[in-house]
Symmetry: C2
């Protein structure tokens, strides 16, 4: 077992999980990434225009769930969570591909179309690599 | 702080971190994903041919590192780890896009070109979504 330590939080107009779109390109609002001061050096080279992967800890998830009805469609057969993007899964890590719209302050970034709710812990940010297989 | 629980391990001919390629498409070998029995229902719908994202915990990483020389090139300026794919970072989560080549057993999958070393904990598997922004 390993400890994941939040390095920041999502600030968003999305407050309830039930209202959040399932993917960013399904109507998610722009949101803010706010990092803790001790991680300044880790995020200091992020720039407006960068395409990034934001990794989050989906803290409202049910970690005991191993099978789900995809996209909450009860008519769809149950499916192992590793074949779905369900937030309910043993390690509820979200991967969100977003573009940085603006650097508001050294620790605050506005990003486009993020489906994570307000307060969601950020656990990592990685650049998108420009290779075909990197998706 | 949150607990990440390994759901399986990578089995690979790569044993030492120093010998591992930096990305899967830089000469990484095929490898095996072996899951723990209690996660059978989570992985039961994975099939040969599936393109997946394997999330790993890069257990040999230095979590205190906030800036690195990209690709270990000491001539390159130091860069915040969130603008690099360095394994050394506060939460050392690896994202590996791979294709499943074969299902060897209900809990064992052979995948193509995985740069993680033998014994690396697997913490999640997600399907690749077929959308342009999902990369």
């Amino acid at each position: 077992m390993y400890d994941v330590i939040p390095i920041g939080r999502v600030r968003s107009s999305l407050v309830h999980r039930a209202a959040a779109p399932m993917q960013g390109n399904e109507g998610a609002p722009d949101a803010r990434l706010v990092f803790d001061p001790q991680y300044h050096d880790a995020v200091c080279d992020l720039r407006a225009g960068d395409e990034i992967l934001v990794l989050t800890w989906l803290h409202q998830s049910d970690r005991s769930v191993l099978r789900v009805h995809p996209r909450d469609d009860l008519a769809a057969p149950l499916r192992g969570v590793c074949s779905t993007r369900s937030p309910d899964r043993p390690n509820p890590i979200g991967i969100h591909r977003v573009r940085i719209l603006a650097v508001e302050a050294p620790l605050e970034f506005t990003v486009a179309e993020l489906e994570a709710i307000d307060g969601t812990p950020i656990i990592d940010v990685k650049p998108v690599l420009d290779r075909a297989r990197e998706r």
